[in-house]
C-alpha cells in the first residue's frame, strides 16, 4: 500500500480553490510518508486541470475525461475511484470537504471498507499514520483522530490549509476509462443555478456579517456596501435569517455555514455560542456592537462600541479612500 491521492475538484474547467488547499495538505502528507502524490482529475475537457495539478505540486495525475463525469455525480466518480484504489492500493485518499468532496470521500470509504476522517483542520504524519485535528461538538472541542488500519480517507475543511503555490511543474497525465456508463448512473442532473453574483461564504477571505442589530432587511444595506468595497461576502446570524431579513445561504453558525476567513466583521451580532461555532477560527475578528457587554467582544481582536449604522458607513468610506 503506497501513494497519496488527492481529489482535484474542478468547476467550469478550472481547478477549484479548495483543490489547491487539498494539494498543499496532501503534499505535506506525501512528503511525511515519503510517498508520491497523485492528483485525481475527473470531468469533461479537463486537460487544463491536469496541467494545473502538476503545476500546483502533484507528482502524477490520474484522470478520466468523459461527458458522464460532468457535472460531478458521486455515482459516476465514486465507483471509478473505488476501482482504481482496489487496483493500485494507495495508502491515503484526500479531498477538500466541499459538498462534492464530502460525498466522494464517504462513498469511497464505504465501498473500500476504509476508515474515514472528515473535516480536518490540521494534520501531522506519525508512524505512517496521518493524525488529523478536527473540531467536534460544533467547534466547542477539538479532537485528534486517525485511521487505525488500511487506506486512510481524509477530508479537509475549507480554508483551513493555505493554497498550494505554482511550482512550474509539468508532466503527462494517465487517462483511464470511466467505470460506469451513462445508462447505469441513476441520477440525472436537469438544472443548475449558479450563485447570483457575490462571493461564496465558505470561499471568502473577508466576511461582513449582520445580526439582530441590523433591525430589518434594509439594515443589511450598509453591511453589503462594506462587503462590496472589500470584495468580501455577506454573512448573517441565525436571528437575522430566522426573522426573514436575509436568505439562509448567508447564515453563519452551528446550523449555518462554518467559515474561516482572514477577516470577519460582526456587526450587530451579540455572539451567541451557536454563532461562535461557525466563525471562531477566523484569523481576525472585528466586533461592532452598541452593547459593550456583548459576548462577541470576548472573541474579537478589535472592537468598536457604537451604532453599526454609523460605524459601517464610516468604515466603507475609509476603505474606499485607502483602496482607491
Amino acid at each position: 500500500m503506497s501513494g497519496v491521492w488527492v481529489f482535484i475538484e474542478n468547476r467550469d474547467g478550472k481547478i477549484a480553490a479548495i483543490a489547491k488547499e487539498a494539494l498543499a495538505a496532501a503534499r505535506t502528507v506525501a512528503d511525511g510518508l515519503g510517498e508520491t502524490l497523485t492528483a485525481l482529475v475527473f470531468g469533461q475537457d479537463v486537460a487544463g486541470v491536469a496541467a494545473a495539478a502538476f503545476d500546483f505540486g502533484a507528482d502524477a495525475v490520474l484522470g478520466a475525461d468523459d461527458a458522464t463525469l460532468s457535472p460531478f455525480r458521486v455515482e459516476a466518480v465514486g465507483p471509478l475511484v473505488v476501482q482504481l484504489a482496489q487496483e493500485r492500493e494507495p495508502s491515503v485518499i484526500m479531498a477538500g470537504a466541499s459538498t462534492r468532496g464530502r460525498d466522494l470521500a464517504a462513498w469511497v470509504a464505504a465501498d473500500l471498507e476504509a476508515g474515514l476522517v472528515a473535516d480536518g483542520t490540521d494534520l501531522t504524519v506519525e508512524d505512517g499514520k496521518v493524525k488529523v485535528t478536527r473540531p467536534v461538538y460544533a467547534g466547542k472541542l477539538l479532537s485528534t483522530v486517525f485511521v487505525t488500519e488500511g487506506t486512510q480517507v481524509i477530508t479537509l475543511r475549507n480554508r483551513a490549509f493555505p493554497q498550494a503555490e505554482s511550482t512550474g511543474g509539468s508532466g503527462s497525465a494517465e487517462w483511464v476509462e470511466t467505470a460506469v456508463a451513462e445508462d447505469d448512473i441513476p441520477t440525472k442532473v436537469t438544472g443548475f443555478a449558479g450563485k447570483e453574483g457575490g462571493v461564496s461564504l465558505t470561499d471568502a477571505s473577508i466576511i461582513v456579517s449582520g445580526g439582530r442589530g441590523v433591525g430589518g432587511p434594509e439594515g443589511f444595506a450598509p453591511v453589503r456596501e462594506l462587503a462590496e468595497v472589500l470584495g468580501g461576502a455577506v454573512g448573517a446570524s441565525r436571528a437575522a435569517v430566522d426573522s426573514g431579513w436575509i436568505p439562509y445561504e448567508h447564515q453563519v453558525g452551528q446550523t449555518g455555514k462554518t467559515v474561516s476567513p482572514d477577516l470577519y466583521i460582526a456587526s450587530g451580532i451579540s455572539g451567541a455560542i451557536q454563532h461562535q461555532a461557525g466563525m471562531r477560527t477566523s484569523k481576525i475578528i472585528v466586533a461592532i456592537n452598541k452593547d459593550p457587554e456583548a459576548p462577541i467582544f470576548k472573541l474579537a481582536q478589535y472592537g468598536i462600541v457604537g451604532d453599526l449604522f454609523e460605524v459601517l458607513p464610516a468604515l466603507t468610506a475609509e476603505f474606499k479612500s485607502k483602496l482607491g
Binding site: A109, L116, V136, Q251, L263, I284, Y302, I304, A317
Partner: protein, 262 residues
Amino acid sequence: MKVVVCTKQTPSTTADLTVNPDGSVSWEDPGGKPNVVNPWDEYSIEEGIRLKENHGASDVIAITMGSEESQEALKTALAMGCTEAILLSDAAFAGVDTLGTAKVLAAAINKVEDVQIAIFGKSAIDGDTGQTAVQTACQLGWTPLTFVSAITAVGDGQITVERLLDDGKETVTAPLPVVISTVKEINEPRYPSFMGIRKASRATIPVWAAGDLSLNSVGSKVDWSKVYALPPREGSVEIIEGDSVQEKAAKLVAKLFEEKVI
C-alpha cells in the same frame, strides 16, 4: 411508501462541555435540557412528516442508534408526528465509526422493509462528520442525494430534488429508493402539539439489538480517543476609541492593514 428518518440524540446547542480526565466528554445545560434531538434532524423529521401529508407516505419511522436514554430524542420525533420509533441499542454499537453506524442503520432500514426514502439531517452536531447518509446509501445500494433544499416531486418510482451545493443549486432526478440528507432551507420544523407530546409520552419504543439486525461485529477503523478543549484565543479585545466615528473607523482600518488581512 414507508419513510425512515435517521436521527441522533446530541448535547443541546447551549450545553457546556467538559473533557474528563479519562478523555470522555460530559455536559450540562444552563437551560436544564442537556440532550436534544440533533438540531439538523428537526428538518429531516419535518420533511418525513410532510412526505406523509403531501406525498402519500404510509409510515414515517424515526430510528436512532444510541444508548437507552436516546429514547428521549425519539419521543420528540413521535411528538412531532412520526408514526413509529425504533431505538437501535447494543453494547456492540458503542464507539463505532461512521461506516459502522451506516451498517447498523442500513440493517435496520432493511428490517423495516418497503422503505423508499431514508432521510438524514445534514450532520450531527457532536461528531459533525456529515458522512453517514452517503455511507448508509452505499450499504443499502441506494442512491444518495445530499444537501437537499427541496423535494419538488415524488411519484412514478422517481424523486426530484434541489441540492444546495457550494457554488449553486442543482436539480436532480433519481429512481427510488434513495437516501436524502437535508439542509435547513428545506422547511420550518413544527413544534410538537400537546396531543403529540401526550401520545409520545405513553409510547413504548421497541429496541433492536445487534442480534435483531443479524450483525455480529460492526467495528471501527477510526481512533478518536483524543478529545480536548480548544486553546483560548490569544489576547483580549482592543476596543478602538476616538472622538468621532470617523476617527475610530480610520484607526481600525489602519490596524487591519497592519494585520495584512485586507
